[in-house]
């Protein structure tokens, strides 16, 4: 890295360091965490992170809740891509119950999960833009994130904390409107992404600001437990979607983009390319969904009456449905005994669910592997020796979601 630092003449002033308290409510931190930076002029000598400012005790709450009541908790972990968390959780339950899902459900899930990934990366990348002084990108792409939210809304009725799907599939079939909206998104979004890329990719200012900042080697990144785009930017092609495919990801053809240096620019580029790949996956999945004909085209959930909420009209007319409805809503269904770990590729990396059930109505212990929490501890190493303003860009390019971090 080029030394831009203005040095004081030797011995002219007694050299001291300044302590700067960045956060927990600093506008540049995009979330609530505190960084206590020790500065020599504008250069960071040391950093210490404090977290826990929105610790909500997910794991403790989850010990008191039946399976379905845990889904809303997973929403609020990484709220930028909540459908991935929801479906990861449902898949964990399905793994515990030993269910196999119809292919159509898997493909529909893939569509939603990839949309979520796009919206997650979109926020992160546009925020990197904001922190390097380009507000336009943010305002521009936010409009297109709304298109994704409209699709969610059409499917589950909610925008952000989606609580989407059920154990075994979806609560209802996708409507034609949902598919029309998806088509609109697939039609409009690539152009937007291209323009967004043009704004940043070869932009001299952006490159100067991001190349070389917050770099980490592959070995260190692995040692720090990085996963997801941040690890891939350092050059390790680990992707849960490829390594342990879930939800029929093995049926899709996509590239896992990797970076080289693990710096802010690489992280940005990896996320950008992942959005392109996600678009391609969505297109493939949509094509596969359209191939289902006749009765197959109506399948949107597996047959698991004990865990899948029955249709409302059946609840009013059929005894059996009413019983299941009551048992599920009141959480009176016992979960089979077992110990299961399942992971999905979330927006920030490997989101893991470690569920221990002792056969009761609630999990005995549920532990979430939260990627943000694990890789944020590397922040100290990432910013040491860089300028204060680079530390801000590093912070945003790591895509730290406070809700996920504090658990």
């Amino acid at each position: 890295m080029v030394d831009h630092h203005i040095k004081l003449p030797e011995g002219s002033i007694e050299k001291t360091t300044t302590t700067l308290n960045l956060g927990p409510t600093h506008p540049a931190t995009h979330g609530v965490f505190q960084n206590i930076l020790q500065l020599d002029g504008e250069r960071i000598v040391n950093a210490e992170q404090t977290i826990g400012y929105i610790h909500r005790a997910f794991e403790k709450i989850a010990e008191r809740r039946p399976l379905y009541q845990i889904t809303p908790l997973t929403d609020r972990m990484n709220y930028c891509s909540s459908p991935i968390n929801n479906m990861g959780w449902h898949q964990t339950c399905e793994k515990l119950l030993g269910l196999t899902l119809p292919k159509r459900v898997d493909y529909l899930r893939v569509i939603i999960m990839e949309l979520a990934r796009i919206s997650d990366h979109l926020i992160c990348n546009s925020i990197v833009g904001v922190d390097t002084g380009a507000f336009t990108g943010f305002l521009y792409v936010m409009q297109y994130r709304e298109l994704i939210y409209e699709i969610y809304e059409e499917i589950c009725g909610s925008r952000l904390t989606t609580n989407i799907g059920r154990i075994g599939g979806f609560e209802r079939n996708f409507t034609n409107t949902a598919f029309t909206k998806l088509e609109r998104f697939l039609d409009e979004y690539p152009k937007v992404l291209k323009e967004f890329n043009n704004l940043f990719m070869r932009n001299r200012i952006f490159m100067e600001r991001t190349i070389g900042g917050g770099a980490i080697s592959a070995e260190r990144a692995l040692n720090y437990g990085f996963t997801g785009p941040n690890l891939r930017a350092a050059g390790v092609d680990y992707d849960v979607r490829v390594h342990s495919p879930y939800s029929s990801y093995e049926d899709f053809d996509f590239i896992v983009p990797v970076g080289k240096t693990g710096d802010n620019y690489d992280r940005f580029m990896v996320r950008n390319e992942e959005m392109n790949q996600s678009l391609s996956i969505i297109t493939q999945a949509y094509r596969k969904v359209q191939e289902f004909k006749g009765a197959d085209a109506e399948v949107f959930h597996a047959d698991v009456p004990e865990y899948y909420l029955p249709e409302k009209k059946d609840v009013y007319t059929k005894m059996e449905a009413l019983i299941y409805h009551f048992k599920i809503v009141m959480g009176e269904t016992d979960i089979p005994k077992g110990e299961v770990y399942h992971s999905v590729e979330g927006g920030n990396g490997e989101v893991g669910y470690y569920l221990i059930s002792d056969g009761g109505r609630t999990p005995y212990r549920l532990h979430f592997r939260r990627p943000c929490f694990i890789y944020y501890q590397a922040y100290n190493e990432l910013v040491k020796g860089s300028m204060l303003s680079d530390a801000i860009v590093t912070l945003s390019s790591l895509n730290l979601i406070a809700g996920e971090m504090d658990g």
């Binding site: 400012y53 929105i54 403790k60 609020r76 904390t161």
Partner: protein, 193 residues
């Protein structure tokens, strides 16, 4: 697309851009008489400086509210300030954990009078679904709140509605309220002098 300036100040039908309603008063050619309170209220209402205190999910919805689709700036709240000293509306969005409580209180204390507080989302209003040992069960335990917006998270329309409610409060607030006994009592009940 380049648009003529008239486009921005005139609507389709050629009518002038909508003006805020005049307060009650008596007027004629070149003069207008009304209460000082109403004039101050009118001015304050349409130039709120919000301080976003966004901690979690609701903060993301707030970003959408500020974005081009919903555009909070239409209501005179264009300028998001990040210094509590400059701002007059504290928008608390998201879960406030007990660890965060003192920070929030300090931010509130740093704000100059007159100040308003908008509590957005179930977590800020009541703790929401997080009835746990670490979450503050509603920010009104530590600071007075003017308007509550329900929802988990509220839609951007909800947040905008909350802002409009705040505007209504501001418009009709007497300029003497902040010096009144009742207000002092309220502050004392929160331990604020």
């Amino acid at each position: 697309m380049a648009r003529p300036v008239q486009y921005n100040i005139k609507n389709e039908g050629g009518k002038p851009v909508s003006l805020s309603e005049m307060p009650l008063g008596d007027g004629g050619d070149g003069y207008f008489v009304t209460k000082l309170s109403s004039v101050v209220g009118l001015a304050r209402k349409n130039s709120i400086w919000p301080l976003p205190f966004a901690t979690s999910c609701c903060g993301i919805e707030f970003m959408a509210t500020m974005g081009a689709n919903y555009d909070l700036a239409r209501f005179g709240a264009e300028r998001i300030g990040f210094s509590p000293r400059q701002c007059d509306l504290l928008m608390v969005m998201g879960t406030i954990a007990k660890k965060m409580g003192p920070v929030l209180r300090q931010v509130y204390l740093q704000m100059a009078e007159p100040r308003w507080v908008l509590s957005v989302g179930a977590c800020a209003c009541s703790g929401g679904i997080f009835d746990s040992y670490s979450v503050l069960q509603g920010i009104d335990q530590i600071i007075p709140v003017d308007v509550y917006v329900p929802g988990c998270p509220p839609r951007p329309e909800g947040i905008i509605d909350g802002i409009l409610k705040i505007q209504e409060l501001i418009e009709h607030e007497s300029i003497r309220r902040r010096n009144g006994e009742k207000y002092q009592e309220l502050m004392t009940s929160y331990g604020i002098q």
